[in-house]
Symmetry: C4
Subunit: 258 residues, 4 copies
């Protein structure tokens, strides 16, 4: 079979795996796959708007099947070329090893629902399927260096991020306790318990401030003001640290490439 | 005609193009044009408030025409001096080449609507005309170094900005999906599809939080809280990176000038 | 008694005090105590939600007592090993000295309420007890380096933080005065005095923006817009400074450890 | 008179002007004045809350007079010691020159209203007086280095701040225009003119988001989402730049002091 022709397989592997190319950037096949994933995700998003999708049922159903078949083709191709991957060199069952890698499982999860729904899936599973197809977006990450940079940034500052996250969450909990104490009696449905007051905490300390919950008494407003001024600063710490680390990680890689 | 007198034309060119001057800063003519553009834009903005503009119809109409004529004069002057521009030196049709440059097209777009409206434009085009005149503001950019710095900052960090924007938009989409799953059944008009839930995503993750949409169930609030804490950090990444890059770009130019 | 056997006491001291260990990290006993504190705090938080706690009264009461007894055991153990603490070496009454340290007082406060409530505490004190038990969370700080880093960061930039806080609070007060002047007559219940307008100030300048108070007149909106654009920048200054200082403090300690 | 005794005057001058002291920090007299100003400002703020001030009319009136007399005493003392100020050395009329300096005018403005109100001021001027007394707070600035640092930070980055402010305001104006175009017909009272849409712009791009104005149509929401994601980043630029510059200014002074 095709597996007898290593030339073809090696060529396809170079087209599929960006790390196997000599030039930087993506091959035409990878570019095509990126476009397909973005198109499939966009369609999956619009599909949830029943006002649109019900009016064009046939189109959405066909497009869904076409994308599923294309991604199935890509999945099979990736299984076939796994033998060329230097990562599995000299190991047995390269295709199986690849199939059990997280990236391959995401790929499979993105195809299966549509195929199952066509093979006889009922109405109940439909809703879940729609959302799951968005997992296809995660494949975009495999093509870009973004995941590498972000994970490097997070790893290099893991101490700071852990500490500031712990501080932020403690600040959130203590703010909720303060408001539970100050407003719990006046607005029992909104501040009547610490878990309820936590919703106020999150909405306020992230500065979203929907306006569905806010203190009404003078004491509550005073406590909320003091808490907000102190805690908002703590909540913003991780973002500042992450931004600096991310910028550093990208600059380091640029220097390496020179 | 005037094109026979290169002394006059060269002098006017030096008055109009800041790059042709030896001293830093703007010539008196450029300062005047900046003031005219700001005045014209302010008037265009106030003009949209019909309570004011209808009461002073004659004043606004006259001012509009005066500004259009002044900008027409400037446009013709710029066409005439294009021959002096070293950028077009030795090339044919300098005036035509200039007229096709983006800056000149913006200038023309800012004049045309008023003239067309006076030449016989009807009622329907009026609304569009008002808004289009704001394009005049973009001319301000040509006089300042701001565009240069911003574009340099964006270019020097294009990798980071692309990656963080992609992350931010993915975070937005995944948040919308999570809330569509959690609240879609309870508030179908607000979270009943992913495109609808995206409005919640944008309003929450930018921390604007109007309060027109927010989760109401316990599950929805929990999902929204987790999503908000994680995603707000991601959304803030590009801003931090852009601020650092912009500051660097300006400092670099200051060092050059010394 | 046990105090005759210094080997046991010294071993227990090494298990309890992270600074007495040679290896970095926490001993198994300290890890266990962290887990217990997190569990106890989580339970105390859920306990305030009467819908849940009333349905499982027996479980919450038992868990509360178990945690109190475990923390009592820990408290007594810490008193017993105080003699081994080099901090109190050569001083008299080491256990008493330890008992008067802030950390030990927090520990005692976290145990006492439950024991008092069981010993015969009535209904009135119950509410206060629930909230006070959250103080147990503060014990987490003793195990981590977070407090050290945060206090170092705050201390190294105390000048900047003091100044920017003073500026931020002044900006808040002046904004409130401006809105009191602009909207006081129109919305007397919301802007009728500077203390009332301060609530608007806090909610706006922290960008929370609940939507319970906002200017309604044209003058009020204009003043609020100008004030918001200027003052929000001032309010954000301390956060930026603190984030940079915190990141520096952590990096400095990492360099020391190498 | 007293002006014959230069020893006393020179001593008082050293107590009043922090720059005349050899040691860093404030003299006991300056500390007292700071406390008096903070007390007076706090009282002026509480005084606007008529529910409190009417119930304690006599107390507030007396306190007001006492503070005014104390500040009058300080004002006269500062006029008297102006002769000692090296800034006015060898110049004529040092007291008059001092009286015309901005700091002295602020001092006078903070005293005059109360004295005028007592000398026979009517009911109408009362409201203005209350707010004006807050100007006393500005005197705090003279004692601290904060104004120096902030003005240095603003000055060292004036180019960046000007450019980013211009960008931010343009982004605000263009956002308002976009929403005026998208929502003007549907919500004429909120988006019916660009000045009205500007209120939406300010509230959204500062991420305050009261919730009194927001787009309701699909087109409006789409435009608002795109505009918000782009423009919020631009609005945040000046803050980031100012925070960095302020931190630098303080560090530079610390190095100088060593």
């Amino acid at each position: 079979m095709a597996s007898e022709r290593p030339g073809w397989r090696a060529g396809l592997y170079r087209l599929l795996d960006p790390r196997a190319r000599k030039q930087p950037g993506l091959s035409w096949l990878n570019r095509l796959i990126v476009v397909l994933i973005v198109l499939a995700a966009t369609l999956a998003v619009i599909d949830t708007e029943t006002a649109i999708s019900n009016a064009h049922r046939a189109f959405f159903a066909t497009a869904d099947l076409v994308f599923a078949l294309l991604f199935l083709l890509e999945y099979v191709a990736r299984l076939w070329v796994a033998k060329e991957n230097p990562h599995y060199a000299g190991k047995r069952w390269p295709a199986l090893r690849y199939a059990l890698s997280p990236a391959a499982i995401i790929d499979l999860l993105a195809i299966l629902p549509t195929l199952l729904a066509w093979a006889g899936g009922g109405f109940v599973v439909l809703r879940l399927v729609r959302v799951m197809r968005l997992v296809r977006l995660a494949k975009l990450g495999r093509f870009s260096r973004a995941w590498l940079y972000i994970s490097e940034a997070v790893w290099s500052r893991r101490t700071e991020l852990q500490l500031t996250l712990a501080f932020g969450l403690s600040a959130m909990l203590l703010s909720a306790t303060a408001l539970y104490w100050a407003e719990g009696q006046v607005q029992p449905d909104k501040f009547g318990s610490i878990p309820r007051a936590l919703w106020w905490s999150v909405v306020t300390l992230t500065t979203v401030g929907y306006g569905d919950v806010y203190p009404e008494t003078v004491v509550g407003k005073f406590v909320a003001a003091v808490v907000a001024i102190i805690a908002i600063g703590l909540i913003a710490l991780p973002t500042g640290i992450l931004a600096a680390a991310f910028s550093e990680a990208v600059q380091r890689h640029k220097d390496d490439e020179r």
